[in-house]
């Protein structure tokens, strides 16, 4: 910890108000999403607490608004503020878990391919190439489509979040795999690895204890940037109607629903979730961007 506080990274961080703001926003949105049930004034997933008669209230400060509903209510009488909190929760959940999944797969594949080399490397990297030719959104759509076909009718909706995580995760692993493989190829020939080999350490130990910590830097950068992308993709899929169902809406679903009210004057149904999405993604992107520059010694 002391080492961290003393590091250039931390110094850099402290001297960039923009980055600190982004970090604060990200942290805030995370916390708020995490503690949505505690923070949100209402539970939008609890059908019993929603009253249709409260529907379409404008934001608190607008005419006809009520302080009970800060950002107004949607067509079902759900508090927009609460739905945003719960929606971010789902967006972040999907984003996080899918990136972690992609990271696990990618790092593992990258380490194996880079360390073992040979035909295994060739095969894994060809698979990665093929995967890379199918952009995330397409892979996610396809997996979603296939799952719709395989799962019994109705089950899909329940598993929607899981399907999204798997779909996005599966489409993201390549970035990690390629980067890790690249770094592993470099690390593998470094003498500390040779030293470990001379000591007689088994490969698994070398890979996980020695190489892995040394290739994690870029992985973290990618993870941040992918997180932002995953959140967008989840929103996009939900917008296209193949994401999470509207009864437990994510930010994307909220925007899709609100979209129907764009012309009728109930702008708050779509604008606030839209802003929340943009602010969240922007903050995460800012962090990732900064981290990438900060961790790249050549850019100093």
């Amino acid at each position: 910890m002391a080492r961290f506080l003393d590091s250039d990274l931390w110094w850099d961080f402290k001297h960039s108000p923009l980055v600190m703001t982004s970090a604060a926003i990200t942290a805030l949105m995370f916390l708020v999403a995490l503690f949505a049930p505690q923070v949100a004034p209402y539970d939008p997933f609890d059908m019993a607490s929603i009253d249709l008669l409260d529907a379409l209230r404008p934001p608190a400060w607008a005419e006809g608004g009520s302080v009970a509903y800060l950002f107004g209510t949607d067509d079902q009488g759900r508090d927009v503020f609460s739905t945003i909190l719960y929606g971010s929760r789902i967006s972040l959940l999907v984003g996080f878990l899918s990136v972690i999944m992609a990271m696990l797969i990618g790092v593992l594949v990258g380490l194996i391919a880079g360390y073992k080399g040979g035909w295994l490397d060739a095969v894994l990297m060809r698979i990665a190439d093929i995967q890379l030719s199918f952009p995330a959104i397409l892979v996610a759509l396809l997996i979603d489509g296939v799952v719709r076909g395989i799962l019994p009718r109705g089950a899909h909706e329940e598993l929607a979040v899981l399907v999204l995580i798997v779909a996005i995760g599966l489409s993201f692993w390549v970035q990690f795999a390629r980067t890790v493989r690249g770094s592993t190829l470099v690390e593998r020939t470094k003498e500390y690895v040779l030293a470990a080999q001379v000591t007689g350490l088994p490969d698994t130990l070398i890979v996980f204890r020695h190489i892995l910590p040394n290739v994690m830097g870029p992985v973290l950068v990618i993870a941040t940037i992918q997180l932002a992308l995953a959140i967008i993709i989840e929103a996009t899929l939900s917008f296209l109607g193949v994401g999470v169902p509207p009864t437990s809406p994510s930010l994307g679903t909220l925007i899709r629903i609100g979209n129907d009210y764009l012309f009728s004057g109930e702008w708050w149904i779509t604008v606030f979730p839209g802003l929340a999405l943009i602010v969240l993604v922007l903050a995460v992107n800012f962090l990732g961007d900064w981290l990438r520059d900060a961790l790249n010694p050549k850019l100093r």
Partner: protein, 613 residues
Amino acid sequence: MESMASNMQNTVEQNAGASPSTPLLDIRGLTVEFPGRRGNLVAARDVSLALAKGEILGVVGESGAGKSTIANAVIGLLDPPGRMASGEVYLAGRRIDALRLPAMRAIRGRRIGMIFQDPLTSLDPLQTIEAQLLETITAHLGMTESAAQRRAVELLDAVGIPEPSARIKQYPHQFSGGMRQRAVIALSLCAQPEVLLADEPTTALDVSIQSQILDLMRQLVRERALGMLIITHDIGVISEIADRVAVMYCGAVVETGATAQVLARPAHAYTKSLIAAIPRPDRKTARFRLVQQHATVESTARRLDVKTHWLGQRRSFDGDGDGDGDGDSGVDSSNASNAALVELENLCMRFTTVPSVFKSRRRYLDAVDDVSFSIRRGEVFGLVGESGSGKSTIGRLICGIHAPHAGRIRFAGVPLDARGSRRALNRLRRQMQMVFQDPFSSLNGRMRVRDIVAEPIRFHRMAEGAQLRAIVLDLLDYVGLGGAAAPRFPHEFSGGQRQRISIARALATRPRFLVCDEPTSALDVSIQAQILNLLKDLQQELGLTMLFISHDLPVIRQMCDRVGVMKSGRLREVNDTETLFTAPRHEYTRHLLDLMPKLDILSGDGGDGDNPN
């Protein structure tokens, strides 16, 4: 990159008409700073240097002394955030450090040529040599296309590139390293500059190419009456080429003078220690002499009583039972001292350089080709040879990093191959260790020093808990680092200190055979001397057998009992060190010895110094 041009406005045109006595290049009180978050780093402090027409001025000093910084400042290409804090630079009497960018551009290349260190990366890989030459020539000399073309070919010819008119159409990657360095020289000379700044122009090159390049530069300076500033940390290069020499230490010039005088009678303490630390190619010395003030680390080393300490305990590796069995201590004496510990028989190693599904399209490289020799117990066996001759590969084969393609390796009489049980192999493996060349990459930056040292012990279950901790601290003490190093991370240490950590790690398994693969080639001479001393002491104290790999003949001479000479994967000659140096048999050996800088002018007290301990 042009930071310096902007922060100095006073373009004073003093000394307009340069008198014959004014130096060609005059650096006065130059101070360069790198502002960083931990304050200003002063890379050059009040440096004054003068260079005359037709003169070669050598700048020496250890790594980080500020040598490159000076050259970069002269030409106005300090890396950001570097800036000239004070000082003036005059070219033929005219001040140039405050020039605006366009004026500076007119000087760069045209009046001051610059050669950067690495010939492999100084050329744009996407353009032909011709294109790069032509654009420089036309930019400065305003020649017609065809005239410039002619000149370009002439230049290549002048720097000794064969068939220049054909070669000029080629891309950099089609040139060898030496040819690329020549092309870089041609590029820096193509606009006929008056001053040439050469920043370590030969470090990446082979000894034989190095001597050719140095010859070339000397010849060019004489012919064209250039003034040349050559930066290096290689005293050998200086002694061969420089008329005068400036010694830098910590950003300041500590001594200037004629080469012969500085090398033979160094005045400043740093220069003295530097010169004392240079391995003597001409005779063998017991230890390197270290000037006290620059060798503080050495004195902190705690001598352990290896007879009683864990490190020396139970060091019996012979016999059939488990290696840790009998409590026989110290140097193993059971066998005759001239019995072989390591034997290589017809060892071959072939790498696939171009993999392909089709056998016919695959390309191979025989890195080690039918090599046989043996290393006796307790002896230091040296392996020399030019870069790429297969030295490291042999070391790695013995340590099991590569599996040989053919031939066999015997260790203490036991063949090392996959046929043996894993356990048995492991036991043998524990008895050998390796110290690597690059102290920066040979330690895992994410592990604390104590874990790095403890890992082999822990893995082989040789000790644990409190005992392990004590052993690690002892080892660190023993290599002269002290226990305070234990909880720190490698990046907090200097190159020499890191190499000590590497050695401690290698000792951790109580090996009896140590492969040292160019353990000091990345270090400055003074630190090199410390490490070599340490290795020598350890070897004697622990009775280690050593394979010492280097391409540096003087170092080999100081370290080894016997030497093998390698060239292109083959072993050309094996002999006692003294015999080899005094009466080489193989022609290639003779060639190598010829290229070795003579350093005859070195001060006399660099010889058999008294041991500080």
